[in-house]
């Protein structure tokens, strides 16, 4: 059973009656810079995401958005503070236990798509389904690719797909596993404006259809505005500071 939710001092606009899928409490990240100097990237960040909610993480380059995303998704551990994802406090968990939390619950969309070169579009989408042992993984992957309009590109390798097409494959892959929460890291960062807009439309359409919670990292206020709520991450010498926005 998940532990009782704890009080979060900086949480804002918390929908009272929704369960939380994600929350961070005073999360900091300090790394050792060259010359053995400690460097704080993120300072005491707190946030919440309710089930089904879309939350934007805004900020300029270098403000620590990707670092925060990694901490929230359990890809990295904070120096201090607590992260709770899908009812589990990640701090106490080792890497494999955090993987167990992610397994089947968390989806990703990356700025650089992260498709596997040697696999076709269909195989890339089927991979997480195969990992989950889904019996009809190929059929589901096909329908996920149909949802993003790529039925005609099933057997093509990533290198022959355009950037927009690659990101649509990545979206199909992310939603095919029906995750409870999706982390999207600058999903339009590698695309031109028009393509980026179509990708975002697609992302939100899929999210609405699958009722997926979303954490969207972006530096684009227009994009952030499409989310229910947002936080702004302000970079600084003392480390990035997170404040509610919108």
């Amino acid at each position: 059973m998940p532990p009782e939710p704890q009080t979060i001092s900086h949480a804002a606009s918390l929908p009272e009656d929704s369960a939380l899928i994600l929350r961070a409490l005073r999360v900091s990240k300090t790394v050792t810079a060259p010359g053995n100097e400690p460097l704080t990237i993120l300072r005491e960040a707190s946030l919440t995401v309710a089930t089904g909610e879309a939350v934007a993480l805004m900020g300029a380059s270098g403000a620590g958005k990707s670092t925060l995303l990694a901490l929230l998704a359990g890809l990295d551990t904070p120096t201090s503070g607590e992260v709770e994802l899908a009812g589990f406090t990640l701090n106490n968990l080792n890497e494999d236990e955090r993987a167990a939390v992610r397994a089947g619950r968390v989806g990703f969309v990356f700025q650089s798509f992260q498709l596997i070169d040697g696999l076709t579009a269909l195989e890339n989408v089927a991979l997480p389904l195969e990992l989950q042992g889904v019996p009809d993984s190929t059929a589901r992957a096909k329908s996920a690719l149909a949802e993003v309009g790529l039925s005609h590109r099933l057997h093509h390798l990533p290198k022959v797909l355009s950037g927009g097409e690659q990101q649509r494959v990545a979206l199909a892959r992310a939603f095919a596993g029906t995750p409870a929460i999706l982390f999207a890291d600058e999903p339009t960062g590698s695309l031109d404006t028009a393509t980026g807009e179509r990708i975002i439309d697609l992302l939100f359409a899929l999210r609405d259809r699958h009722q997926t919670s979303l954490v969207l990292v972006t530096h684009d206020p227009a994009l952030a505005a499409r989310c229910n709520r947002g936080y702004r991450l302000q970079g600084g010498v003392q480390g990035g500071e997170l404040t509610p926005w919108q």
Partner: protein
């Protein structure tokens, strides 16, 4: 959070899904080319070992099936004394028995005489197998010896004596009728039986010939067979009651001369195949490191998707196991085909049909593939399970490299296991494994040092960039160059050193080596015989005096043969042939202790000195023609028996041995066919006894030729494995190179500058590898020649030239290809990855 609250993944990977994932992933990656080098390396390794495995397995099975025939019995007791008492005892135990006798004697046919190896066989001979005889044109198999009063002669004896079947000959005091030609007997016997033609009579005729007296040098054999239904352990019961100087020879340890030669050939073939496997291992190691780099992203993604680290390890291990099985199938098929080539080369040397191959080598091939892959490739992939999932956001992060100790420890273990599986010999395993490790380690060390030294050397432009690339990761550059060196060493060994070795080996017995020995030459015949040789243009090895003598005292004490055992006892019981030291040591003799003193003491051969515990300075007395002759040992010699010249275990100084008591001996060369010349010689010197060595020489020559062809044939696989090593060494780091080139091009480097930097880098790699490979190939060649083949070795100064040229040539072949690869994509695409 309580332990019970530890998270469970929303899905669980079953063993079935892991297997299915691993299998499908394997297909994808084979298709995409990521695993093709590993696949090829494995295929070649498996083909090499199974080809040799299938063939040696067939020879072994054939030999086992024929084994009882080699003795014509299930067991045999050999003795210089009659064995009648033991025959009774064996019969009492229920064994079937018969006796045979063998000794050299001269048979007379009218004017002609001929030394033959006489064999008298008892009733029931042969107990196992059959004789082949012919009375007219046709051969037939028969399971009994000649009747009383009849003799069967080998075809050569009939030809030399101008006889036909139906004629008569005299053996000792008895006349025999030649009733058949003896084509083949199961238990061929010793050297003499091959040097002098066989005559076979019935054992019951022996007393009337008057040839066998208590003093005769006769070998008695008691042949034993276990009747069907009786346990073979009865032979052990008999063996236990035998005195120390008698033993029962069994088919499994009584091997025809060729069996020993074949065992040795099989071992060389096995090792040649193993060299292919070890080279494939080097290719696997490099390819696995490359594959490890390629798999970082998929592993990170899987980790981000929530796959447990141990499942990632299982996944890659299963994938390798499948790869091993997948490569083993065509590998075994290729090995199965290749063994026909080996059987064609060597099978004709056997006088039995090879049985069909068994399935045993298939299992061996699969085990080799698994050991090689798990030992050489898996350690490189083992840390993929620790790929940080954060790599999906930050590509700078990567799985930690496998500890060098694990990487090389596993490789070492695999090498040891592979060599042991092949050779089943702890000493050889240690030797080969140690050799591989030391040379590979030395290559890496030398290259590392050279790179460090070159890095300090001030360079500019393309040279600096090429060098920087090599020096930036000196460890992996050194490994690449070391693997390349290994491949080039194999190629040089095969291309140059092997040719030199085989030529030296085949020339061991020159084509015009003496092929006849003549003995029983009386002192007064010497001038006449010398003239005969001269007028008939026959080159002889010189007439050498030979004295029959008995060894009587050792350092003043009487020699008692009964206190000696084995070979020493036999030597002490028999007469020695002594000769006189020539003024100068013959070319085929070498002094290993003491000094050559033609006018003092004895000079003895090293082997016999060891058997009889003779040492320099020991005093020996020989009874020569009734006169005791005493002197000290002044030198110990080695003798090259391959020279086919008369040589002696014991030589005495000129003053010790009186010339008048001597007989003479010589060897000479007669081109074949030579029956007429032999007859002329025997007519001119009727008392002369001739040994014809042609048959033995031909067999030895054919064996050497075929064995060397077979080893070369197996080395084809080694060559292929060497090429795969080269391929994987050059291909290593291609992806990184493409990215770096893109950066250079963005910074404004021209095509020409990029190509120049590639040329610089690869010619340097080629030269370094070529130089090291020449040294290694030269050293290995010397080691093989001196230690393994016992051949003189002359350093071939072409080797370094070939080595350097081969290195540069490989660079020249590879750079244009690599250039096309790195320059094919626009820099932006390459950088985007």
């Amino acid at each position: 959070m309580a332990i019970a609250d530890r998270p469970k993944p929303a899905f669980k990977l079953s063993l079935f899904s892991l297997i299915s994932l691993a299998w499908r992933g394997l297909w994808r990656e084979l298709r995409s080319g990521a695993l093709i080098t590993m696949f090829l390396a494995l295929l070649i390794a498996v083909a090499a070992v199974t080809a040799v495995g299938f063939f040696t397995d067939r020879v072994d099975a054939g030999m086992r099936a024929q084994a009882a025939e080699f003795l014509a019995a299930d067991g045999r007791i050999e003795s210089p004394d009659p064995l009648a008492a033991w025959q009774q005892k064996a019969q009492a135990l229920g064994l079937t028995t018969t006796q045979t006798l063998e000794f050299p004697t001269v048979i007379l046919a009218g004017e002609h005489t001929l030394l033959v190896s006489l064999k008298a066989v008892g009733a029931g001979y042969p107990l196992r197998g059959a004789l082949t005889i012919s009375t007219e044109a046709q051969n037939r198999q028969i399971r009994q010896g000649p009747e009383e009063g009849r003799v069967w002669l080998a075809p050569r004896a009939l030809a030399l004596l101008d006889l036909n079947v139906g004629d008569s000959v005299q053996i000792g005091q008895k006349q025999f009728k030649v009733s058949a030609t003896l084509q083949r007997e199961p238990d061929v016997g010793n050297f003499l039986a091959q040097a002098a033609p066989r005559a076979m009579i019935n054992l019951a005729d022996i007393p009337t010939t008057g040839l066998v007296t208590p003093a005769s040098r006769v070998t008695h054999y008691l042949l034993l067979a276990v009747p069907s239904g009786m346990s073979p352990s009865v032979l052990n019961t008999l063996a236990k009651s035998l005195p120390a100087d008698l033993s029962i020879e069994r088919p499994e340890n009584s091997q025809p001369a060729f069996k020993t030669a074949f065992d040795r050939a099989a071992r060389f073939l096995g090792l040649a195949a193993m060299v292919a496997v070890l080279l494939a291992g080097a290719a696997l190691m490099l390819a696995a490191q490359q594959y490890n780099r390629l798999q970082q992203d998929p592993a990170a993604l899987m980790r981000a998707f929530g796959v447990q680290s141990r499942h990632i390890l299982y996944l890659y291990t299963l994938r390798l196991v499948f790869l091993a099985l997948l490569a083993a199938v065509p590998g075994i098929a290729l090995g199965g085909l290749a063994q026909f080539g080996l059987s064609a080369l060597l099978g004709s040397l056997l006088d039995f049909q090879l049985p069909p191959p068994t399935w045993l080598p298939v299992g061996f091939g699969v085990s080799i593939a698994l050991v090689a892959l798990l030992g050489f490739a898996l350690p490189s992939l083992i840390r993929l399970q620790d790929t940080p999932p954060l790599r999906v956001l930050n590509r700078q992060l990567a799985a930690p490299p496998t500890a060098a100790v694990l990487l090389f420890g596993a490789g070492l273990l695999a090498i040891g296991l592979l060599v042991w599986l092949q050779a089943r010999d702890a000493w050889l395993t240690t030797y080969v494994t140690g050799g591989m490790v030391i040379s590979f380690g030395a290559f890496i060390g030398i290259v590392w040092l050279l790179l460090q030294a070159l890095r300090r050397y001030p360079t500019r432009g393309v040279a600096r960039f090429g060098l920087a690339r090599l020096a930036r990761s000196p460890w992996s550059s050194a490994m690449q160059i070391a693997a390349l060196t290994l491949g080039l060493t194999a190629l040089l060994l095969l291309g140059v050193v092997r040719g030199d070795l085989v030529a030296t080996w085949q020339n061991q017995i020159p084509n015009d080596a003496p092929n006849f020995f003549a003995i029983n030459i009386q002192p007064d015949q010497v001038p006449e015989l010398t003239r005969f040789f001269k007028t008939n243009h026959i080159e002889d090895a010189g007439l050498v005096a030979m004295h029959r003598a008995r060894w009587t005292t050792f350092n003043g004490k009487a020699v008692n043969a009964d206190q000696l055992t084995g070979q020493a006892k036999r030597l002490a019981e028999r007469e020695f042939n002594l000769s006189v030291m020539p003024e100068h040591l013959a070319a085929d003799n070498k002094i290993v202790a003491g000094s050559w003193q033609p006018d003092a003491g004895w000079s003895v051969e090293q082997g016999i000195a060891k058997t009889l515990h003779w040492q320099l300075g020991d005093e020996l007395t020989f009874l020569v023609n009734g006169t005791p002759v005493t002197a000290a040992i002044t030198s110990i010699r080695t003798v090259d028996w391959n020279s086919m010249r008369p040589n002696f275990f014991v030589l005495g100084s000129a003053g010790l041995l009186p010339r008048q008591s001597a007989q003479f001996i010589t060897s000479f060369y007669l081109p074949s066919p030579n029956v007429e010349q032999q007859k002329a010689l025997l007519r001119a010197f009727p008392t002369l006894t001739l040994f014809d060595l042609n048959q033995i020489l031909n067999e030895v020559r054919t064996l050497i030729l075929r064995a060397s062809q077979a080893v070369q044939y197996v080395f084809l696989f080694t060559l292929l494995a060497g090429l795969v090593v080269l391929l994987s060494a050059f291909a290593a780091g291609e992806a990184e190179r493409i990215r770096e080139t893109a950066v250079l091009r963005v910074l404004g480097a021209s095509h020409r500058q990029i190509m120049n930097s590639l040329w610089f880098e690869f010619i340097l790699i080629g030269l370094l590898s070529g130089l090291l490979a020449s040294i290694a190939a030269g050293g290995l060649g010397a080691l093989l020649a001196l230690k393994l083949f016992d051949l003189p070795w002359v350093l071939d100064w072409h080797i370094p030239l070939y080595g350097l040229a081969a290195g540069v040539l490989l660079a020249a072949l590879f750079v244009p290809y690599l250039g096309r690869r790195v320059l094919a994509l626009p820099p932006a695409r390459s950088l985007r990855g």
